[in-house]
């Protein structure tokens, strides 16, 4: 075996990722080659140094007890009196969305001027499949993104959400607006078999009223997140479009996905 063949394999051998036969050939080579042997020693030296450092990190005595206390705390009933139960939250959210959708019926067919702005509440309302249908002008999945872009009047671009699959695309008009937004549905089937869903809404650039969300600057990108009608929402502006994710997932998980997109 030559040095040029050996050197690239040393790391694999050090990491126990090399087949035994190949490792045996390298060991033979090392016996006669000071250069490769020195490279090998250097790899192991680095490993020994970091392991010595890690071993020297003292583990806090109360670590396990602290974990236990926190987990037990999870089992306690909420002590905050105004904390809403899950069913009450869901009922309130449904009531808010239903009220929004009923407003046109109550007030008559007149449109409410919105100056081209779309609120988070309107986007959350249109993101639920049921409400999307109730909102009226929802259209079936477009055959391709180009068609979706033609319908919305701006270029619709799928976002890359790691671990999630784009399973649907449609257009819809949020209640009380004249704008058409793109709805991309992403799904993930968890190991327990539960199906989670994220709706990615895209609007014309500058349309989304994101005020009230928490603004973060992550890797040079402005990403805002918050909670609207008990749904997590994340918003960020892109060139040519505004993007909003709506999901029942925790806010931090949605923010992570957005930051990694």
């Amino acid at each position: 075996m030559k040095c040029a063949e050996t050197l690239p394999l040393l790391e694999l051998m050090a990491d126990n990722e090399l087949p035994v036969e190949q490792a045996a050939q390298i060991v033979e080579h090392l016996k006669d080659c000071n250069g490769c042997q020195s490279e090998w020693d250097s790899l192991l030296d680095l490993r020994n140094r970091v392991r010595a450092f890690a071993d020297a990190i003292p583990i806090p005595e109360g670590l396990s007890a602290g974990i236990h206390r926190n987990l037990e705390g999870e089992m306690q009933p909420p002590r905050i009196l105004y904390r809403r139960s899950a069913w009450l939250s869901a009922a309130l959210a449904a009531a808010v969305v239903a009220l929004m959708l009923m407003v046109p019926a109550i007030l008559g067919p007149q449109k409410q001027a919105n100056n081209g702005a779309i609120t988070m509440m309107q986007l959350v309302a249109v993101s639920s499949p049921r409400e999307r249908q109730a909102a009226g002008p929802a259209k079936p999945a477009a055959p391709d993104l180009a068609a979706l872009s033609r319908e919305t009047g701006f270029t619709v671009v799928p976002v890359d959400l790691r671990g999630w699959r784009l399973t649907g695309a449609a257009t819809a008009r949020p209640p009380h607006t004249d704008d058409t937004v793109a709805l991309l549905t992403y799904t993930r089937v968890s190991e327990s078999g539960r199906s989670d869903e994220i709706t990615c809404l895209q609007t014309k650039a500058g349309c989304v009223q994101w005020q009230g969300l928490n603004e973060h600057l992550i890797d040079g990108r402005k990403i805002c997140c918050g909670e609207v009608a008990d749904m997590s929402v994340v918003y960020w502006p892109e060139s040519g479009r505004d993007v909003v994710l709506v999901s029942a997932l925790p806010q931090d998980e949605l923010l992570d996905l957005a930051a990694g997109s």
């Binding site: 990491d15 790899l43 970091v50 392991r51 003292p58 583990i59 602290g66 539960r194 992570d256």
Partner: protein
Amino acid sequence: MFGSRSSKGVEDFERLTLGLAPRLYRLAYARLGNAGDAEDVVQETYLKAFRSFSTFRPGTNLEAWFTRILVNSVRDHLRKSARSVRTVAIADLPEGVDLEELVVDEISPERRCLEAEVDPHLQQALRSVPAVFLTPWLLREVDDLSYKEIAEALDVPIGTVMSRLSRARQLLRRLLSGDTGVAAAGDETQAEERNTP
């Protein structure tokens, strides 16, 4: 059932996972360099894991699953820390206070102690390697995870794990050999880090 929200559920969860705590703590400490922060992140990791334990499938890699939660928690913690910059108006300072006394030292006292005792050059080098390379390398060298396990924990392909490990080793060896050109190499990798999961 896994993830049952009862005392029995806590007991089952702890029985399966408490043994991982020291390893997770060391990984958090190596990344954060601070005992308090490392402990907070480990506690948070356990809470998150417990809350979503129903999604864990028995028989799959518990360690990789936990490590992924920890790595995300560390990343969130670093983001939050980067955002929470405290400022003090100079006009509010008492007379006679030297501004230099107010400079916040990023190295905690316990880390300083540890550094004095254990391989200060290595620790200095660890701080200079971008997380995107350092995390897989720590998982490999300290936690002895296989490439497949690291790939699962970080949710990246095995090929990416291999290239990041190689880059981490390359950077660390150059840093430890006193190569002054490594700082520039580290800067280059910052851009790469921003563009990688």
